[in-house]
Chain length 91, copies 2
């Protein structure tokens, strides 16, 4: 179920590092090198598979990763998106 605007604003402080971009929540990460960035991508992917909820993952500039999360079937942000962001923040 798509979250209301107030609900999104209330939840955002609970996932430090993430920002809202239109219908998504987005976080940028930077790593020491490509290998470490790739290892992170694989940990995120494991989490995504476990939740059956898949972020868009951009590995760019050899050591940066941008994650973008939304619930496509609902056309916006749901509780599941915030759960995935929380889990990623624990990686």
């Amino acid at each position: 179920m798509k979250l209301h605007e107030e609900e999104i604003d209330r939840r955002l402080p609970g996932i430090p590092g993430w920002r809202r971009e239109n219908d998504q929540i987005v976080r940028d990460f930077q790593f020491a090198d490509f290998k470490t960035a790739l290892a992170f991508v694989n940990r995120v992917a494991d989490e995504a598979e476990a939740m059956d909820h898949h972020p868009d993952i951009l590995l760019h500039g050899w050591n940066r990763v941008r994650l973008s999360v939304m619930t496509h079937s609902e056309g916006g942000l749901t509780a599941k998106d915030f759960q995935l962001a929380e889990r990623i923040n624990l990686l």
Copy 2:
């Protein structure tokens, strides 16, 4: 060394599936599922590490991968970009 326009046009047919987008060459891939898309990303990453030449890798829509290749230090396309694309086409 940055390739001339004519050289780029000459080389593009040698890397089927790739198209030019501004200063990059780009190819979109689609897979059966997330796991297969991720496995492909890891094979591309191995190739990139072996060549020490890193494409931007976007894993999106749970089963799609977009690769964008350029030589940032040269501000455009070089022979190395086409070599990487060729190797990726053999994966």
